[in-house]
């Protein structure tokens, strides 16, 4: 068994070799489970898309009738989801200015569902060690394959409606792609962060990151095809700062 351990380490080294750094800082996450919030400040904002958004491709679900019938207008792949100039599915997180940990872990598990042969939500954030509950609302087989570069990947299946699986990641990584190989169009992204100060924009393009102590923070917004935007916000004690991002145009 010892030999195997060595082998696994060897594998991990090879797997990690591609990325630079990041492997040393992940250790603090697990111990901080019950820590109190560090503050009551928050950063809120809106993510906009300037100009006319690219058309999302149609999905050929003809050979998956139980999913296709969940759509009235024919399914499209919501890669760039813009409603009235508001951009959804942008992952926003604090990248600098935080005090040293430990950080409080979010109370609830993060969830991601497979519904109509699409992931909802398409983008989700988790803290290192936080549970991610994956569920299946379709009466068909989905497999969930995580293809991270920093974390250990997995490839599991949910052959029936109503099944759930719980997984977690132990190293920060932006982003861990999830894919379903039964339905090649299905993609989702999981942002794994070492702290709980992240959010995903909804259909109205808004986000809100709470529980922050007073300070000045660097913030980054990530979109799967449009790249990243950075900003900075200063939060007063128990105050709320506003930070907006604009993609496209």
């Amino acid at each position: 068994m010892r030999r195997l351990g060595v082998t696994s380490c060897l594998l991990a080294l090879i797997a990690c070799g591609g990325g630079d750094g990041g492997s040393g800082s992940g250790g603090g996450g697990g111990a901080a489970a019950a820590a109190a919030p560090l503050g009551n400040g928050s950063i809120t904002g809106m993510v906009m898309f300037a100009g006319s958004p690219p058309a999302n491709p149609a999905i050929d679900m003809a050979e998956e009738a139980v999913c296709a019938e969940k759509f009235t207008n024919g399914p499209t792949d919501p890669i760039v989801s813009v409603t009235g100039g508001h951009l959804a599915n942008v992952f926003v997180r604090v990248t600098g200015g935080l005090p040293a940990g430990p950080y409080p872990e979010p109370a609830a598990a993060a969830t991601i569902d497979q519904d109509g042969c699409l992931y909802t939500p398409r983008v989700v954030g988790v803290m290192v060690g936080q549970d991610l509950v994956i569920s299946n609302s379709d009466p068909v087989l989905h497999n969930i394959k995580a293809v991270p570069t920093e974390n250990r990947g997995f490839n599991i299946s949910q052959p029936r409606e109503g099944m759930t699986s719980t997984r977690s990641f132990n190293t920060p990584e932006i982003m861990v792609p999830l894919e379903c190989n039964v339905h090649g169009w299905m993609n989702a992204y999981v942002g794994v962060v070492e702290h709980p100060y992240f959010a995903v924009t909804g259909a109205d393009g808004t986000f809100s990151i709470g529980g922050l102590p007073a300070g000045t923070y660097q913030v980054e917004a990530w979109h799967e095809t449009l790249g990243t935007r950075s900003g900075e916000a200063t939060v007063a004690a128990d105050g709320s700062a506003t930070l907006n991002f604009t993609f496209g145009g």
Partner: protein, 224 residues
């Protein structure tokens, strides 16, 4: 429990089925001879008091017979099979007028690539349909199997066609459907946890319907 093959719908299925039934008859006869012989012997020569078995060490004549008969039989089966095999899988067996398709195979989907209006594969107007192969009846179809990850196997039971798709190898296979209808395509080589659901459909159209379907698809492709 039936030994009858399910209905077939391709040109070479008849040859394959004939060989199957031929072997079924030959092995059936061998089966009956051997099993009946065993049954007969165990009844007839069961131990009875006061009796001794006959001291027989063998018979060269018998050995020659049961060496020669199976040898000749299997060689005949082999020779009869060779032609059919060559016709189905031989290097130059694909008919020249076959409609070419590329099939991109991956866990756990079949992407069938169609030629588009210019009649050439590998050009910009090619279009792809997931898990659906539409072909005309009575015209050969050649598939260029292109596995993108692991080994899969293209299997249409009704056409009696099966061919592994191996990543890194250019493998083609062909068939000619003889009956209009819809038939299931299965993956026959274990390819991972979704292997059992790697199902697709082949739709065999009449010549007119096929042209109509192609026109519809090409129009749809142009809109996009």
């Amino acid at each position: 429990m039936s030994w009858i093959l399910p209905p077939s719908a391709s040109t070479f299925a008849g040859d394959i089925d004939f060989l199957y039934y031929l072997i079924l008859v030959i092995t059936g006869i061998a089966f009956v001879v051997v099993e009946a012989g065993i049954l007969l012997f165990v009844i007839k020569y069961r131990a009875r008091p006061g009796r001794k078995a006959e001291y027989i060490e063998g018979s060269t004549k018998a050995e020659i017979i049961w060496t020669a008969v199976p040898a000749v039989t299997v060689v005949i089966i082999g020779l009869m099979s060779a032609g059919v095999w060559n016709n189905v899988k031989g290097r130059n067996s694909t008919p020249r007028n076959a409609i070419p398709h590329q099939v991109n195979v991956r866990q756990f989907e079949w992407d069938f690539v169609y030629r588009g209006a210019d009649g050439q594969l590998g050009t910009a107007d090619d279009f792809t349909v997931r898990n659906q192969l539409h072909i005309p009846v009575n015209q050969p179809v050649a598939l260029q199997l292109n596995a993108e990850d692991v080994i899969h196997s293209f299997f249409v039971p009704a056409f009696r066609v099966k061919q592994d798709a191996v990543p890194g190898m250019a493998i083609s296979t062909w068939f000619e459907a003889t009956e209009v209808g819809e038939y299931e395509i299965a993956c026959a080589e274990l390819c991972g946890l979704g292997h059992y659901r790697m199902r697709a459909m082949v739709t065999v159209h009449s010549a007119a319907d096929y042209q109509q379907w192609l026109a519809d698809r090409t129009a749809a492709a142009d809109e996009e």
